[in-house]
Subunit: 298 residues, 2 copies
């Protein structure tokens, strides 16, 4: 590839940029970033890119555009990009929710232009280009979305791109994507936010400090609940239907747990605890987490 | 102190043992452990202790007994210990729930013998003496329980003991303890177990593998949900009343979150996400977690 354009250069965008540079994938990388703070950080970090102030000159000459902004910014960006896009341009995003954003993209994108959606399963609770990491995508899954109207050539090139920066690629449609990530990512985030909210509400009710004793469990949830609020608002709104369903399933199961505890149903409770424990081993075997007690914190 | 007896030498017991040895707190440490597997591990690890097969000879000569077993074993242990206990013997435990176990202890313990309860806020998802760590208690809170009938001399000696192995001590009654830890530790564990159960239920419903995509959030919960099932069954049963209350508060808040998402109440949702985010900073400032994105996993 000759030229790549990254739109939005926070944690993910700057990690893509660093990975492209590390793996020598493009001759030139352009970055478009609306935040002045981020621009000055990118300059200070001397990230290997050319910062764009408008799309006019660069866009007709780029082979790949990667949108790394929150989902709610897609529409505005597409409207700005449209007149410079060519059918050969590969456009992708890294968004965590797909079905609804596809509707927006379809409606907004100029006719004859293809969009091929990506979702690298990588990130952390911090935001900003200073936290980017050239190895963020190494051995991580990257989901590519394939629909009836997907441009297969673009999909194939994009698949090679993610593999070159170290990802394992899995292809599925946006519906399946949104179902899967409602339970493996969106609900966990919502639950973490909700647990932290419940703890702060409870602290107010009790009128004594208790967050300071959070090393026994709460602290782990607080990390996830420190994630970017704009990004997560967009995901929750976009994948609302699937998330609502898994919330209901979660509440149903929680009520059953409560019942087991209240009725001292030892057999049922122990079975649940043992079954849950097995999943950890599976996750480690699947290389989805490090195999160190307490994430190696001690 | 001359002699200390540790009953139950798993993760916590063996960490106490290692910490005593590191800080040269006792001349001799006895260990009583019912699991043959653990005994052979202790021998193989050459942990600095004398393994007891019965209490007869040693107990009258120990200054401090630390019970590091699940809560459900207290009664049986006390019944075995009773005839060898002296009023000067300091007896403590490391259990995570206090009110109900105090009732059992009061009923079972020989008259004239004091019990002073401890709860070091330390541990991890793994079990067994091989995971013990001499620095497990360093800079961690240790809660000491003070009731009307608490032996103040024993409390004072015990406080010095935990401080010597690096802990920060906080004193409260068992009622307050159980309220605080229902939200900072017990509910987080229950929620983690419940989320993992919900994910596995959902996987069965959908009939396709999805646990393999758990790096986006679920994996964190799976670590906590890999904790020892006997220990957690006992905690859930013992602190049932407080846990039930925080489950209800949690469900109420989760329903409100769902409502915000379904009605696209941006203002309310964003406020919740931002408020939750602040807690992470507080937890790090209070040194309850490491200040590294993603727990330093990447």
């Amino acid at each position: 590839m000759k030229n790549i354009l990254i739109i939005g250069c926070g944690l993910i965008g700057s990690s893509v940029l660093r990975a492209i540079s590390k793996n020598k994938i493009a001759k030139k990388v352009f970055v478009y970033e609306k935040s002045k703070t981020n621009i000055s950080k990118i300059k200070k970090l001397k990230l290997p890119c050319t910062i764009l102030t408008d799309f006019k000159k660069a866009v007709p000459n780029v082979d790949l555009i990667i949108i790394c902004t929150p989902l709610s910014e897609y529409k505005g960006i597409i409207l700005k990009l449209n007149k410079y896009l060519l059918p050969k341009t590969i456009i992708t995003d890294v968004g965590s929710s797909k079905e609804k954003s596809h509707d927006v993209i379809k409606k907004t994108l100029k006719k004859g232009i293809s969009w091929t959606s990506s979702h690298p399963i990588a990130g952390s609770e911090v935001s900003g280009p200073e936290y980017g990491n050239k190895d963020l995508f190494l051995n991580k899954w990257c989901i590519l979305i394939k629909e009836k109207d997907t441009n297969k050539k673009h999909l194939s090139i994009l698949s090679k791109f993610w593999k070159k920066i170290g990802s394992r690629v899995s292809i599925m449609n946006s519906k399946k994507h949104d179902v899967i990530f409602s339970i493996t990512s969106h609900l966990p985030h919502l639950i973490a936010y909700n647990l932290v909210k419940t703890a702060t509400d409870f602290e107010k009710q009790q009128r004594y400090e208790l967050i300071k004793f959070s090393a026994g469990g709460l602290r782990d949830f607080s990390r996830i609940a420190a994630s970017n609020e704009i990004m997560w608002r967009d995901i929750f709104f976009n994948n609302q239907k699937n998330i609502s369903k898994v919330i209901d399933l979660f509440i149903k199961n929680l009520r059953a747990f409560k019942k087991d505890i209240q009725s001292r149903n030892e057999k049922s409770l122990i079975k649940k605890l043992i079954d849950a424990k097995k999943v950890r081993k599976k996750i480690i075997k699947l290389k989805q987490d490090i195999n160190k007690p307490d994430f190696g914190r001690n």
